[in-house]
Subunit: 608 residues, 2 copies
């Protein structure tokens, strides 16, 4: 019962099913709940553009502005495209559902696999970046990035196992603080430039851009595309909006994209003009904020807000991953325990899986955002492409009112994201994207194997095709009790055996003939009515003579079943368990795959 | 059954008990079997003296000769002392037995704990040193010392699990090769000096020794004492000698000590005169051998022989550790599974434990002999002291013929080893000896806890004090079958239940009321004769309503027992197991500590 108390301490008292409800919230709250993933990506996207450029040549960073503008344009296209999805999937159109509905199961599963991978990466990347931003302000933490990251993930896991139902209001504050702090940062930076308090180190628009390898520019563009992660969240969460929910969702999506685009372009613009080059141990946002605010209070405020929204962004995966996993599990593509709500009304198994995977990634990549990013974008854009592509087929088939315009937007979205997906896969392949490219088909294969297994089992077990009832009546069975000696602990086992069958036999494996005689004598005294069979064991194995004897009994009695009754000890303290029951354990394990054999443990509870 | 085949491939076919025999062997073979641990220590002892001295000042290495002579004198004293032990413990007097017999259980357990630690360290140190000697000759291996070490330990483990019965002859060759190669090395080195082919870099005896801190000299001495490990082995193994075994053992011990002393002094003497200073990546023996032989064939021969005897030395622990562990287990100080012979007539559990611990040490200390040595000597000298001290008390009490002379030798041995033990503990405390100082009392505490537990259990379970037999007759019980639906898999479970009790009830945990009706209807069709109880679960837990219901049944029926019959699936492939039985697993776990409750698994073997 100690486990029960520990669990309650960590995750709280169980909640009744009736408490599940869908509170509908206004747009400004929904923006906070659904957009933290998207908005938070401005914390690392600029940096990701600057790193490959600056590693090539300092002058190359001139390209950061055109690249950022291209990404903003892409963001605009994707936003228009997802507004169509909201229009046609009022119950929320996640990539898995849209792709499965319109492009078939395989496409759905590919989208599902990439989303699952992405949710894990969202947690790792956001937490890693949050830790880096905090560590930029508090250098003491730089040495312990992985540990801090793991502690944060553990905290998120615990909170989510408790069920963060009150989250809407709780989310609003940090999100708007973050938006506010970035607006002030961009505003103050621009103001200082305009008033001449700061001198620009580079022009806003260069007359000539340095000639760079195309691959490098595409690579910087691919890295910057990390800014677009999480854009789809609003289209999945339409149901939490107040009525008219579709209209509200569309408006909120637009607001969100405009805010995101402004913050991303603003930061990239200032970083460029102020000549910010990311360096080891300090993020680009931190460098910029330092330049603008010095070491004032506001600098720390920006860093803390940034870290907070990143943790919130990680938190969104804690809603998305388990929800998608449960959809897959209900369709029998994942183990069925992922499909059911835990006692706090959350999908507990999914939450634990997500946390463990994210922790493993943090450890594998030493908590460095920059090393995790290449894995990130592939899945995001694959699910974008499948989802938009699914919408294209939807319009072509359904031809609902206004389908032509929607087809145009979704078609543009599908084509651009497909092109970007190709670019990302090619430019990031060697630096990590290959892992995702390898992992997605593996996951899809696993989904199919699990699915086939459940179908096969269902077919094997069904009683629907049995015309008349199978005879459900008692069967004949013998009880075999393997004993290691006579003591109080087995008396109850013998009594139980006598109560379940008229044919009870004990067997004793002889290791030392001298002891055998003593055992025989004791047995006559205590349980003389039950035959005791002495089994020789030339190889000192205890298990195999017992197995041979069971086969013997099955053959000679022609019974339907043999019950192997194993007397076991339950010790008072957990560690004492290792001092007992080894033989019981091995006999149980050996009998696991034996047919016509029932294993029964009769436990004696030790007081000491 | 696949496990069985893998095991047979690795460790071979089981051997019958009758094949256990004690072949007695002549002195020259016994020397090889019992002395590889002691003799091999010359491979690292000289180096261990030189390292602390040379790190202090190059001139300080002048002290290596006096220190080596002191160690040789100590070796002589300990040898004389152990000859007495052979005299009075003809069946082999390990430190555990001698200390327990004469100084009490506590002293015995302290000796036992230090020996167990030492055996583990012998494996780690010898393997690490062996790898270093090979890596000196083949620099390619230097990068992979830990991996090579672990592979060697794995090899030793596998060989020993097979049972290395033929070992005597197999051991003799490398041991005598090693002795031969060191004699040739020392001889050739001395010859080159005498004939003027090599010029001495330092005089044999210095006119004045540099003034050094006493602590440094004691520290170098402590490190050099690693040369004495394994000296006691012959006194433990008297029974393998041909008759007159005691006389033969005493003679062999003397030979062994003389050989060891000669090799150790010879190497230290040459290293000193040739001005050898140990350096990173090459051992002192390798440097000396290089200087004497150049890069000729003989250089490689010396290194390979050295590595081989070190591996043999590690191998001796594979006989000693499991034997001592089984003695402790028979006295109920360690888990009883360590007491029994495996099916290859070896103590398999002990062999695996030893290997795992030694591998952990190799990894922890990155395969560096020099870092492991400080942990080594404490346990060795603690067991020396307890064993000699035990002999002193033995003589004082028994006063057997000739006891006065023996008392003098053992007393001298006990006092000198006690003094050295103090010196080692003090000078090596901070560099690692503290771990052993902490670990020994912890082990002793564990021994006592295990012992008390077994005694308590014995007392609780005994039937000896019960004057008349307890009534061994059938008890009354009810069967409860928790079901999750009706399918082929539970039909057999129901039939079994009907055969073991007249009171069978099924229970179903309702999660979705719509499904409940379908389940009820199906149940009526297939098993209408058995009552089906529907359990509500407001918190969606499946386990706790079942537990409550069992309590209910126990209370209302006033039965002795409730049998919880759990239908389980056995899947065709191992991974499929994860897709089933989760609820069964949790119910089993929850029932583990429940009294008056028998858990029975009736398994349905899936074909798919």
């Amino acid at each position: 019962m100690k486990y029960g108390r520990l669990k309650q301490l960590l995750v709280g008292k169980p909640l009744a099913s009736e408490m599940a409800h869908n509170e509908r919230i206004p747009k400004w709250k929904a923006l906070a709940v659904l957009s933290s993933d998207a908005l938070s990506s401005v914390a690392y996207a600029t940096e990701e553009i600057l790193i490959p450029l600056s590693l090539f040549a300092t002058a190359a960073v001139a390209w950061s502005m055109p690249i950022a503008i291209a990404i903003a344009a892409l963001l605009f296209i994707v936003t228009l495209s997802y507004r169509q999805t909201i229009e046609f999937y009022p119950n929320g159109g996640g990539a898995y559902i849209v792709a499965k509905d319109n492009l078939g199961t395989m496409a759905g599963l590919i989208a599902g696999a990439s989303l699952l991978i992405d949710y894990v990466l969202t947690v790792s990347v956001s937490v890693a970046s949050g830790v880096e931003n905090i560590a930029s302000a508090f250098p003491l933490l730089r040495e312990h990035k992985e540990i801090v990251g793991i502690v944060i993930i553990f905290f998120l896991m615990t909170m989510n196992l408790r069920g963060v139902r009150e989250s809407a209001t709780l989310f609003a504050l940090p999100t708007y603080f973050f938006i506010g702090s970035i607006f002030v940062l961009v505003g103050a930076g621009a103001f200082q430039l305009l008033t001449g308090h700061a001198l620009p180190k580079a022009p806003l628009i260069h007359e000539a851009y340095p000639a760079l390898p195309l691959f490098l520019i595409l690579r910087a563009f691919s890295s910057g595309c990390a800014a677009m992660t999480g854009v789809e969240a609003i289209s999945n969460g339409i149901q939490i909006f107040k009525e008219p929910s579709q209209k509200n969702a569309k408006t909120t999506l637009l607001w969100m994209s405009v805010t995101l685009g402004f913050m991303f372009l603003g930061i990239t613009f200032l970083a460029h003009i102020y000549g910010i080059i990311p360096k080891e141990g300090e993020t680009a946002v931190s460098l910029l904020s330092h330049t603008v605010f010095g070491s004032s209070f506001f600098y720390y405020f920006v860093q803390v807000c940034t870290a907070m929204i990143l943790v919130l962004a990680a938190n969104t995966s804690y809603a998305d991953f388990p929800r998608l996993a449960s959809l897959l599990a209900k369709d029998r593509f994942l183990p069925r325990q992922l499909a059911s709500l835990g006692d706090r009304l959350v999908f507990s198994n999914g939450i634990v899986w997500l946390s463990v995977c994210a922790m493993v990634l943090i450890i594998m990549f030493k908590g460095e955002t920059h090393h995790l990013i290449p894995l990130y974008a592939v899945g995001v854009f694959l699910s974008f492409t499948l989802s938009q592509g699914g919408m294209v087929f939807h319009h072509l088939r359904e031809r609902e009112p206004g389908w032509m315009k929607s087809l145009a937007f979704n078609g543009l979205g599908a084509i651009s994201t497909a092109v970007v997906l190709t670019v990302i896969t090619m430019t990031k392949f060697l630096s990590g994207a290959w892992m995702v490219v390898v992992l997605i088909p593996i996951l899809v294969f696993i989904f199919y194997r699990i699915h086939r297994h459940y179908l096969d089992v269902g077919k094997e077990l069904t009683l629907l095709d049995v015309s008349r009832p199978i005879a459900v009546q008692p069967l004949k069975h013998t009880v075999v009790i393997p004993i290691s000696g006579i003591h109080r602990g087995i008396i109850e086992g013998i009594r139980y055996a006598l109560s379940i069958s008229s044919d009870v036999r004990a067997c004793y494996v002889e290791l030392d003939p001298e002891i055998t005689d003593r055992v025989k004598e004791e047995w006559r005294k205590w349980a003389g009515q039950i035959p005791l069979v002495i089994l020789k064991s030339p190889y000192r194995s205890v298990v195999s003579p017992v197995l041979d004897y069971i086969n013997d009994v099955l053959e000679t009695t022609k019974d339907d079943m043999v019950t192997v009754l194993i007397p076991e000890f339950v010790t008072a303290k957990w560690w004492q368990q290792f001092l007992h029951n080894q033989t019981a354990f091995f006999i149980r394990a050996a009998l696991l795959f034996k047919r016509n054999c029932v294993v029964t443990s009769v436990r004696y509870h030790l007081h000491v």
